[in-house]
Chain length 153, copies 4
C-alpha cells in the first residue's frame, strides 16, 4: 500500500487573520514534513492551510461539496468536486491519516465527530472541546504531536 500520508486540516470557511496565520503555519509544516495536505477545498482555514503548504513545496487536495473544480481555492492541486454537498465532510475525514482541527463552525464539528467514529487522531486547536481529541494550544505543540503520532523522527 501507498506510503504517502495525508493530513486533513479542518476549520471554518471564514476565519480571523490570526487563525489564518495559524492555518498557514500548519500547512507549511505539513509540506516540510513531506506529507500531503487535504481539506475541504474552500476558503478560510482551508485556503490558508493550502497556501502554507503550496508556498513550501507541498501538495494539496481539496474535497469540494459542489460540482465544479472552480470552487477550489487557488492553492489546491487536486480538486475533487464531489457534488455530495456536506456529506463530503465524511470524505475529508476518511482520506486522512491524521486530522488537525482549527477553529470552525458546525461543519468542523461534524468532521471532528466523524473522525471520532472512524477512530482517527484529531489534534485539536479548534473551539470545539470534544472528548477523544488531542488538545493542544500552539502550532509547535500540534506539529510535535503529529510527528509523534506518525512516528516521524
Amino acid at each position: 500500500m501507498s506510503k504517502i500520508r495525508i493530513i486533513s486540516v479542518i476549520g471554518g470557511n471564514r476565519c480571523s487573520d490570526e487563525t489564518a496565520k495559524i492555518a498557514q503555519e500548519i500547512g507549511k509544516n505539513i509540506a516540510k514534513l513531506g506529507l500531503i495536505l487535504a481539506c475541504g477545498g474552500l476558503g478560510g482555514v482551508m485556503e490558508a492551510a493550502a497556501k502554507g503548504a503550496k508556498e513550501n513545496g507541498g501538495a494539496t487536495i481539496g474535497i469540494l461539496p459542489g460540482e465544479s473544480k472552480k470552487d477550489a481555492n487557488p492553492y489546491i492541486d487536486i480538486a475533487i468536486p464531489t457534488g455530495l454537498g456536506l456529506a463530503r465532510n465524511t470524505l475529508v475525514v476518511r482520506i486522512a491519516d491524521l486530522i488537525i482541527a482549527l477553529p470552525g463552525e458546525y461543519g468542523t464539528l461534524s468532521e471532528i465527530s466523524f473522525a471520532m467514529i472512524f477512530n482517527k487522531i484529531v489534534i485539536n486547536l479548534s473551539n470545539w472541546d470534544i472528548e477523544g481529541t488531542y488538545r493542544v494550544k500552539t502550532v509547535e505543540e500540534a506539529i510535535r504531536q503529529l510527528k509523534k503520532e506518525l512516528r516521524i523522527v
Copy 2:
C-alpha cells in the same frame, strides 16, 4: 407540496433502559400527533423510538447506513438501505422537519452538527450541549416545544 411532516429522532445505537423509555415515549407522541418518525433505522434509541411510534399507529422510516433492508429494526415501515455508510447521517437530518436529539455518541453529535448547518430545529434531550439547539429536560417539555414549533394546536 406534501403536508406530511417528518420528525427525526436521533440518538445512540445502544442506550440505557431509561433512555429507551424516553425514546419510546417520544415515538408514541410523534405518532399520536400524526407525524412520521424517521431515524437511522438501527438499535438503541432508534429502535425504541420506532417501537413507540408503531405501537401507537404511527409510520416509521429508517435510513440505514448499510446495503440491506434487513439491517432495520423490526419497527421500521420504510427501510432505506443507503449503502453510504455514515454519510447517511446527512439524510437523517435532511429528511426532517424537526429533530429530537436523545443521548448518543459521536454519530448523534454529527447529526446535531448537520442540523445546525441546515438550519433545522433540534429539540435537545441529549448529552451534547450544543449552542443553537433547544435544550429541554423532559419528554413533556420536548413535545410542548415540538407542537409550538410546528404550530400544532
Copy 3:
C-alpha cells in the same frame, strides 16, 4: 422486517405525452396493488407515475438530488432531499424491491446499471436495451410480470 414493498419507477425528467400516460398507468397499478411508489421526485416520468399513484390512493416517495423538499413534484408524499446530486440515483435503486424503467436519458441508464449491480429486477419499458433486464412492451405485460415477481395473486 417490514412487509411494505416499494416499486421504483425510473425515467426521464421530461417525457412525451405518450410516455407520461404510460407512467401514470404504471403508477395507478402500483397503488392499486397496495405497493409504495418511489422515484426521483422530479418531473416527467417521475411526476406522471406519482400522479397515477396518488390519484388511486397510493403513497409516494421522492428521492431528490437537491437540498429542498420544494423540488418535489406535487404528487410526492415523502420528499427526501438528499443533497447528494446524482449520487442519489443509487438510493432510488436501493430502496426498491423491484424497478420499472420507462424511457429516459443517461440518468435512467445509470439507474438500470445500479439495479443490475445490486441484483434488482428491472421490468424494462425504456429505450435502453440492457441485458439482464426484463423486456416488456406494454403496461399490462409490465404489471403481469411485476405480480409474478412479487408473488401477488
Copy 4:
C-alpha cells in the same frame, strides 16, 4: 485554478489478460503525458492502468467504495476510501477532466452514464456502445484523441 489534469480510467474489476495489457498501455501513456491517473482503486482494469502509470513515473488516485485504504491495489498513491459504496462511481467521473473507458460490467456502464450527464468526454474502448462517447479501437487512437481533446501538442 490547478493546472493538474486528471484522466479517469474505468473498467471491470476483473479483466482478460488482453484487456489488462491495454489498460497498462493506457496508464503508461497517461503518465508519460504528465497527467494524473484516477480510477476506482480496485483490481482488473483499475490495477493494470495504475500499474502502467506507476511504472512510468506517473501519479495515481484510487477512489474506493469501501472504508479502508488497504482495499486499494498496490499501484495507488492516493487512496480515498469513500465508504459510499457504489455511489463512489459518481466521484470517479467527477474528478476527471477526461475519461477512458475499457471493457467492464454494469459499474463501468454507470460511470459512462454519469460521464454523459456531467458532460465529460469519454474515449470509449469498452464493450458498451453508448451514444455520446467517442468510439476508438486502439490505444494509439485513444491517446491521439486524448491529446486532441486536452490540446496537448
